[in-house]
């Protein structure tokens, strides 16, 4: 449960970094090359953390049927 | 204070790092190479080596190999040294410094591979070492010819159109780097990849690739 939480946090933060960098660069607040570097750094983290978040188990797992 | 005369190869110059008369520069290109080298050096520092699994052919048995931790420590040390040499080589603004760093890459590469007690790997490391040693002839020779014909080793001078670097010097430099790092002819290195310690073996390839990329930039710009 804790891992799911931290994966979600990382995914959110890196996702926000990606989107914010893109928006700021589009408005002109941020140099384009800086935004590109930020996205290159944050995007892989975002992809992996997102996947880690939604594949992490939700607390108590099912007990599989193991036969009689 | 300095401005690279050539910006259409590796992008414009970002900033210059001076240590006395040893000047390193970061253009878009060299900064990117520097970042790549930094990433893989950091990986060699922080990651633990893998345990190699072998399968016994003809059956279901598999076993992990026992490896002496002392050798792994040596390998890690060499990999880090190799990373540092690569960092120096990719940003150097001086042909001779570049060749020195490249030959240091060659030495550390031999060291990384030699820390493995396997006849085939040691044999490959030995042959590779001989080639790396021979490669210093064209490497230093190239730098020396550059110095003799142009009177300078500084890349700022050499990149200007007024300074003509003889073709033979360029060929020598490329040959030298190829011999030191084997890039891009790693087929000669296939046997070396058998050695354990993935993060460190990786450094062998990273360093040779990056110095090769750098020499391509230098030779085209000159």
């Amino acid at each position: 449960m804790k891992r799911k939480q931290s994966a979600l946090t990382i995914a959110t933060v890196s996702g926000i970094v990606c989107v914010a960098a893109a928006i700021f660069a589009a408005i002109g607040y941020l140099a384009v090359w800086l935004a590109e570097i930020l996205i290159v750094l944050a995007f892989p983290v975002f992809v992996i953390a997102l996947a880690l978040w939604w594949s992490a188990s939700e607390g108590v797992a099912d007990i599989p049927f193991i036969g009689y | 204070m300095f401005n690279l005369p050539v910006t259409n190869i590796g992008g414009s110059e970002l900033f210059v790092l001076e240590f006395g008369d040893i000047v390193n520069y970061f253009s878009v290109y060299t900064a990117a190479l520097f970042a790549f080298a930094l990433i893989f050096t950091a990986l060699a520092i922080v990651s633990r080596p893998e345990k190699m699994v072998d399968i016994a052919f003809g059956g279901d048995a598999y076993y992990t190999k026992e490896i002496d931790p002392g050798l792994l420590r040596f390998q890690r040390f060499m990999a880090i040294a190799c990373g540092l040499a690569t960092l120096g080589a990719v940003v150097s603004g001086d042909v001779f410094n570049f060749t020195l760093f490249v030959s240091m890459v060659g030495i550390t590469n031999i060291g990384i591979v030699a820390a493995y007690k396997n006849k085939h790997v040691l044999n490959a490391a030995f042959q590779y070492g001989i080639v790396a040693m021979l490669a210093t002839v064209p490497l230093f020779g190239g730098a020396a010819i550059v110095l003799a014909t142009t009177g300078t080793l500084s890349l700022w001078e050499l990149y200007t159109a007024a300074v003509a670097v003889p073709l033979i010097a360029k060929i020598f430099l490329v040959l030298g780097v190829m011999g030191e790092g084997m890039a891009p002819f790693y087929i000669a290195k296939a046997e070396i990849t058998r050695a354990q310690g993935a993060p460190f073996i990786l450094m062998v390839h990273v360093s040779s690739l990056l110095v090769f990329l750098r020499v391509v930039e230098i030779v085209i710009s000159m």
Partner: protein, 200 residues
């Protein structure tokens, strides 16, 4: 000058060709190491042909790199051929080696201190080597290493005085001279002992 350079270049290239051809023909690994070392000298010759002060300064790093590569390859060769044998007992026993070392070493070290600097270090080191050669070097390793390390720190410290407080240059010269004396002496007295002993 120009013609000499071209002529020299031709000679070196001929040497390179001969060397590489010999390497291609050679089958014995030990001989190949030796031949590569010979071929590497040609790289130094290429630098030397430039014949300026800068070239002279460039030969030293070239030489260092060449030697360290040679060392690395030789180590690989030793490991490859399983040639590591334990060191044997001292090869000779001479009576004078029991009695003379003390006084000889004292004289040499004292003279070295009077000379000071690099040369003094070398002279003093000969005294120290002579002493350890005769009396064995079992315990002294750690001490020598420590002394050498401190001497190095003093040497570097003296350079900082040069850079930061140039007014005190004479003081710095004295520190640097003394430190390099001790350091060269300490390092040279370790010659020949690297592979022996149990504390290596």
């Amino acid at each position: 000058m120009d013609q000499v350079y071209v002529l020299g270049l031709l000679v070196v290239f001929a040497g390179v060709l001969i060397g590489f051809y010999a390497l291609m023909r050679e089958r014995d690994d030990l001989h190949r190491i030796l031949l590569t070392d010979l071929a590497e000298i040609l790289a130094l010759a290429l630098i030397a042909l430039v014949a300026t002060d800068l070239a002279e300064a460039l030969i030293l790093p070239g030489l260092v790199v060449g030697i360290s590569e040679l060392l690395a390859v030789s180590e690989v060769y030793l490991a490859k051929e399983d040639l590591r044998t334990p060191p044997t007992a001292p090869p000779f026993r001479i009576e004078v080696m029991e009695s003379a070392p003390g006084i000889m070493a004292l004289i040499l070290v004292a003279y070295g201190i009077i000379l000071s600097g690099f040369t003094g270090g070398a002279v003093a080191a000969v005294g120290a080597i002579f002493y350890f050669l005769c009396r064995g070097q079992n315990e002294q390793f750690a001490i020598i290493e420590t002394v050498s390390g401190y001497a190095w720190v003093f040497w570097i410290g003296a350079f900082f005085i040069f850079m930061l407080l140039p007014a005190y240059w004479f003081f710095a010269v004295m520190i640097a001279g003394g430190a390099i004396l001790v350091k060269v002496m300490a390092k040279m007295s370790l010659i020949g002992t690297m592979r022996g002993g149990e504390h290596v």
